[in-house]
């Protein structure tokens, strides 16, 4: 038990990433009702773009970060315009399958553009470990906590204080009524894809210095983020954050205290248990008031 602080720090780091990814899932779910299987590829793309900017073009981090986020945001929006909208379908099955196809397509393109090798990215600010309450953390862990926190607060502010955010929530709640009130539902769907692209990119950019990078790095992370979203109550943003952090800590404490062989079994076992007892997830409430 003497390493508990270390396990929790490790868990919160991975958990923050899961939370950001889970938020991306929520935003699209709330606008369209679908699960976006290309979410993981937004993560990969964020990492790949910043890799090219930093290592290839030697752009300073402070500029490369926003450019990468914007690039993936545009790809997210493009996905909606060229794949989702032309389908002219509200059938969830069709739209979900389109996102699966888009995911395979994107992964293929990444492989051609960036190759099949593993890549590495240096951390944002040095590799000197910091001691804190019996745990050692890297400066990159602090970056991850900080940027996740800012993103979550920013998202909350956007949804609760801005007209655009409120319009998105209205669309989530009842698209038909929102449309009658003069909200352009199509634009809201487009915006949701752009926004989840941005969230995926941020997650990818901050995690890559820790995990290393390849064209399919987002697949496993996307899956874990999806599990986190389900754990928290699919579609609920507070739930997504809570679910992500909880899943990360469960994995890490499970590995450290009980058995590293069964750590995924422990984490996903608890996920199943939560869903048996409360099928809507920890904070899931029903159809309205999800954002």
């Amino acid at each position: 038990m003497d390493h508990l602080a270390q396990f929790i720090v490790a868990g919160l780091t991975t958990g923050s990433i899961y939370a950001l990814i889970a938020l991306g899932f929520c935003v699209i779910h709330n606008a369209t009702g679908i699960v976006n299987f290309a979410q993981g590829d937004f993560i990969s793309l964020g990492g790949l773009v910043i890799f090219t900017l930093l290592m290839g073009l030697k752009v300073p981090l402070i500029i490369a970060f926003p450019i990468s986020v914007i690039a993936v945001t545009i790809v997210g929006a493009l996905l909606e315009r060229v794949a989702i909208r032309p389908a002219r379908s509200r059938s969830i099955v069709i739209l979900v399958f389109i996102t699966i196809g888009a995911s395979i397509f994107m992964r293929g393109v990444f492989k051609i553009l960036w190759g099949k090798n593993q890549m590495g990215l240096p951390p944002f600010s040095g590799e000197t470990p910091i001691n804190f309450a019996g745990a050692t953390l890297m400066p990159q862990n602090l970056w991850i906590f900080g940027i996740t926190l800012i993103s979550v607060i920013g998202l909350h502010f956007f949804f609760s204080r801005t007209r655009l955010g409120k319009a998105m929530r209205a669309t989530a709640c009842n698209p038909r009524a929102a449309s009658l009130m003069g909200v352009n539902v199509n634009s809201m769907v487009l915006l949701s894809f752009a926004l989840s692209g941005a969230l995926g990119a941020i997650a990818g950019i901050i995690i890559v210095p820790i995990t290393t990078l390849s064209f399919d790095i987002g697949v496993m992370l996307g899956l874990k983020g999806f599990a986190a979203a389900v754990l928290g109550g699919y579609g609920n943003s507070l739930g997504a954050v809570l679910g992500g952090l909880l899943l990360g800590v469960l994995e890490s404490v499970g590995a450290g205290v009980i058995s590293s062989t069964y750590k995924d079994v422990i984490a996903f076992g608890i996920l199943l248990l939560v869903l048996f007892i409360k099928p809507s997830g920890l904070l899931g409430r029903g159809d309205t008031e999800r954002l």
């Binding site: 490790a10 470990p129 290393t212 590995a255 590293s260």
Partner: protein
């Protein structure tokens, strides 16, 4: 009109001349992972295969007959590997097969080639493809060119024993490769007077191993031995530095690869591991018979084919070269009749290759011992040969 007649005449001449000189090529099936997760291993292996075949054909082929490569892609998927190998056997009727490149793919096609009786030289890491008995079946037709995991474990343990590091903590991946390694690490520890004081595992896709490493360090080991391939090894190295662990980190024979240094950065410094001689060939004494062969290989790889632009040389680069050369040498001696070819491969003695000097027997379908390996340490981002 005249022009056309002349052209037709020339064409006919070329066809006849061509026919008169055409020698029946020998077909060899080459199956590697060209797409999917293992593509970074399979693609350079394919390029090396093509490079060797081109070299052999330029030097006169197999007693005058050129080798014709039939390529196949496993897509890193055992089912696809089986389909490709079935095609090799039934449609292309290949004389021998080179590959596949990953243990699970090798195990998937093992029974097929054993039943069909096609000599198959794999480039896989795991030992079960050339082990027999029970569920493993037979291994009459399957060979492999990379060192056995057990050989790498013995090489590493020998080093630990000499360095007087007695208490070992194991950190193994929870996949086929890691479990195979863990088995050998546990089996050979007593032989080298080592005690395993802690045992942890991780998923090779995990992004953080500090939890396992903290637990390992509380057992106060003299050394940490990590057994995995791919980026997970780099994450382990980074986490060891992050936690400030003082124990030296040892990696397995799959890690000597410039990519490890690239991914782990400064954290890779000081990692020690068993490797093929390829990683530090320039530091070998000139008396080493492999040095010249490796020099030729590196020249072809880097300067002629320029494969290093996308895939810098790593410890695995020579496996396909050795596999094809052993098969081609056997063909020169005994022809392509399957039984005879198999027997000739089994009688290979003293073939000086990239990964070692091969001495095969009907029981040993790999033919490499601990003397084929060296210990290397990462120093200033380069590979330093340890004595």
């Amino acid at each position: 009109m005249k022009k056309i007649e002349v052209l037709v005449g020339i064409l006919i001449c070329i066809l006849f001349l061509g026919n008169a000189h055409a020698v029946d090529p020998i077909k060899i099936g080459a199956i590697f992972s060209l797409s999917g997760p293992a593509a970074a291993i399979g693609t350079p292996t394919k390029l090396v295969t093509q490079m060797v075949v081109e070299k052999i054909n330029k030097e006169g082929g197999i007693n005058g007959r050129p080798i014709e490569l039939v390529l196949g892609d496993t897509e890193s998927d055992p089912t696809k590997a089986i389909m490709v190998v079935k095609k090799f056997i039934n449609v292309d009727k290949v004389a021998a097969i080179i590959g596949p490149d990953r243990t699970d793919l090798g195990m998937a096609v093992k029974k097929l080639v054993e039943d069909a009786g096609v000599p198959t030289f794999m480039t896989v890491g795991g030992d079960p493809v050339i082990m027999g008995g029970g569920p493993l079946g037979t291994y009459k037709w399957v060979f492999k060119s990379p060192q056995r995991s057990s050989v790498a474990v013995e090489k590493l343990y020998d080093h630990l024993q000499k360095a007087n590091l007695k208490k070992v903590a194991l950190m193994t991946a929870a996949d086929g490769f890691g479990k195979d390694g863990k088995g050998w690490l546990e089996k050979f520890a007593p032989k080298y007077g080592l005690t395993i004081v802690a045992n942890e595992s991780f998923n090779p896709k995990d992004t953080d191993m500090t939890a396992q490493l903290s637990k390992l360090s509380s057992a106060n080991p003299d050394a940490i031995v990590c057994w995995t391939i791919g980026p997970a090894a780099a994450i382990v190295a980074k986490n060891v530095k992050q936690l400030g662990l003082k124990e030296p980190l040892f990696q397995c024979h799959g890690i000597p690869d410039p990519n490890y240094v690239e991914l782990a950065g400064a954290s890779a410094e000081g990692s020690v591991m068993p490797s093929t001689k390829l990683m530090a060939w320039e530091q070998l004494p000139d008396s080493d018979p492999q040095k010249k062969v490796i020099k030729d290989f590196v020249h072809l790889y880097n300067d002629v084919q320029k494969i290093n632009k996308e895939f810098p040389i790593n410890t695995h680069s020579g496996y396909a070269w050795d596999a094809i050369y052993v098969v081609a040498d056997a063909m020169k001696k005994s022809g392509v009749e399957p039984e005879k070819l198999r027997d000739a491969i089994e009688q290979t003695k003293g073939y000086v290759g990239i990964s070692g000097i091969y001495n095969l027997t009907p029981e040993d379908h790999n033919g490499l011992g601990t003397d084929s390996m060296i210990m290397v340490r990462v120093k200033d981002g380069k590979w330093e040969l340890l004595q």
